[in-house]
Symmetry: C2
Subunit: 431 residues, 2 copies
Amino acid sequence: MLLTGTVVVDSATVIDEGAVVVDGTTIETVGERDELLDRYPDHERRDFDIVAPGLVGSHIHSVQSLGRGIADDTELLDWLFDHILPMEGSMGADEMRTAATLGYLELIESGTTTCIDHLSVSHADQAFEAAGEVGIRALMGKVLMDQASPEPLEEDTEEALAESEELIRQYHGAFGDRVRYAVTPRFAVTCSEECLRGARELADRYDGVRIHTHASENLGEIETVETETGMRNVHWLDEVGLTGEDVVLAHCVHTDETERDVLAETGTHVTHCPSSNMKLASGVAPVLDYLDRGINVALGNDGPPCNNTLDPFTEMRQASLLQKVSQLESTALPAATAFEMATVNGAEAAGFEQLGKLKPGWKADVIGLRTDTSRATPVHDVLSHLVFATHGDDVAFTMVDGEVLLDDGEVVGVDVEAVREQAQTYAEQYS
Amino acid sequence: MLLTGTVVVDSATVIDEGAVVVDGTTIETVGERDELLDRYPDHERRDFDIVAPGLVGSHIHSVQSLGRGIADDTELLDWLFDHILPMEGSMGADEMRTAATLGYLELIESGTTTCIDHLSVSHADQAFEAAGEVGIRALMGKVLMDQASPEPLEEDTEEALAESEELIRQYHGAFGDRVRYAVTPRFAVTCSEECLRGARELADRYDGVRIHTHASENLGEIETVETETGMRNVHWLDEVGLTGEDVVLAHCVHTDETERDVLAETGTHVTHCPSSNMKLASGVAPVLDYLDRGINVALGNDGPPCNNTLDPFTEMRQASLLQKVSQLESTALPAATAFEMATVNGAEAAGFEQLGKLKPGWKADVIGLRTDTSRATPVHDVLSHLVFATHGDDVAFTMVDGEVLLDDGEVVGVDVEAVREQAQTYAEQYS
């Protein structure tokens, strides 16, 4: 297939009248449109205004999709314990499948081709199947909670780890290696030391399996961990093995200098979720400091109940705007950096190789945008335009691993209407 | 015309299966869908998921639309003096007409039915004509700059005020009273005392003419004013007559207690522009304190070069999220308040009576939204959904004064393609 448009190869390279040629699951070549049209006259063709690498949502809760808007404007602890966890705890296999499918549909419809997905305690297999059906690339895992958790969610430590291992055997590397496994403790507060150390041991037993958890999102959380362990949260995670190049920590809003040193020294990945941090009043993560230290910072939308969108363009824009206003510096976190966070940095966090740029030999995860709207006119700088002016509705085409998942704005191979109707019906039981 | 859907009457009242009946330029009745369908069987009908009051953009720069993306990620003073003001200064009548038209198109396409528009020094008549052509409701005026301004923009005080008066005679109350005049000094830094006092005198001579200016947006501005006048900015504006129930001050990010007292005592309106304040690193306006004091706070997108969208839903969401994170309080500025800021508070600032709610006898400024998308599924609370999940692309229908401006997502009566092409061509001269 041959895709034409202004081609954003990466944050530093744009081809004004370019084209991308895809062969199988990878990009064959990228270059000038006219030259490639001459060279590949028989290739099936799609024309766009902008062609870009698929975006990476590096901290997502697809299975919370039925709770979009369930608890807006509420106190954080009420939000979690009165709304979100009860919803997760009450969801059966069908609800989980519908929620995950809806989440993946929203992601591919708005330009996310890879996600790092934090599932729930039960029915994680439903989300793996949904990812396989929709075709998204994902690093994902069943959630571990073995202490201080509401009744239906708290599990026996050994059983939870054993179920995780079953899922690894079944799904790690599944669907043409589009789906990989991350052992996923919810956060230190709801996981015993045995659980956290067990997560590390389990991840180490399987090549390519990673670890994904929440860390230092809010002040109450880090106080609880410090009270129980005598350590700051990141030090505790480091102590039990949950730092390193295969670990993704979502949020990291509240860290001190010594914790940042640990993150940098261990090569731990951080996912910044600006809209969620704003809506839940968590605070402003020290993203610029992390980047200065060489820490890999990716971007995530978090879940629909705390955002309330999975649009990755909204998050790029928000990441830049939030750093500018909090630093009182209008040059802070420019478009190129936001774009890197949402592409190559996300790919690095997720552990997928040759992903996040439109380069020959790299994975054919590509999006095509149409920007023939008043709100996207005029275009001065296309990279800046992607970050500050366009959004998910401009995405007309989404390809993962060379497979077209969204074509001319329509999802391929999934009955989207049926999923939406089912989601609305299921959602009416939550409040 | 009869519009059906979940009807958001105002921030406190929602009719789940409702309808709005429009007669001429006003709303005739609002109620249950089935009852109104029985009562008005022959009315032309439109069906939506949500029917809501048209939104009010209370601080807009439509004529900066050609500069969308012109100077992202730059220092504030470079942004203004190296990019925005030179662009405005170089624009001829045709560029001004195209820019304003593009701005009004973007506004009506994304659900804004009324704007308070800050034009430029020259060719203001072109924007008035554009507003008349597109059909938007607007309070707007030529900009006054008579000191400390770049060459092509600085004008003789008397001549500038005389031209303003000409425009008042020509356009105040024009287009069926959809368009009204606001005398528009740019800000205290670029306006002499004579100019500011002249603005007040001019506004007082014409019934319904208001005053619109920028105030206390950034620290450099208020330092300059204090150095030159010996007063804090709002005190200076009060001294020269630029406070009161007919005055709209955009931004008010940096005010002290005594200035807030003045704003409250004089009934001066404040327009909050959260995305702009974030992108230009201006700071976080004390919106909650203003509201606590009874100050009327409206919402605005500011201009495309500092946002980069005129989508009013983005601004409602941003207003809520920015207060939550800056106050570290997730209940701060809830959806209902954001919605009031973008509707009735904006109408009050603009001075249009019976505007901003869907009530019998009120102005027929109405929008219809379709939300049959993955990203807008499910819906729990419709008001909260409007603020946190929907955006301008969901707007399928826009009516101002009973006239349909956008129908089934298509602008009525304007060659939108031609405007966009012209805008892109003109825009290429700016950088």
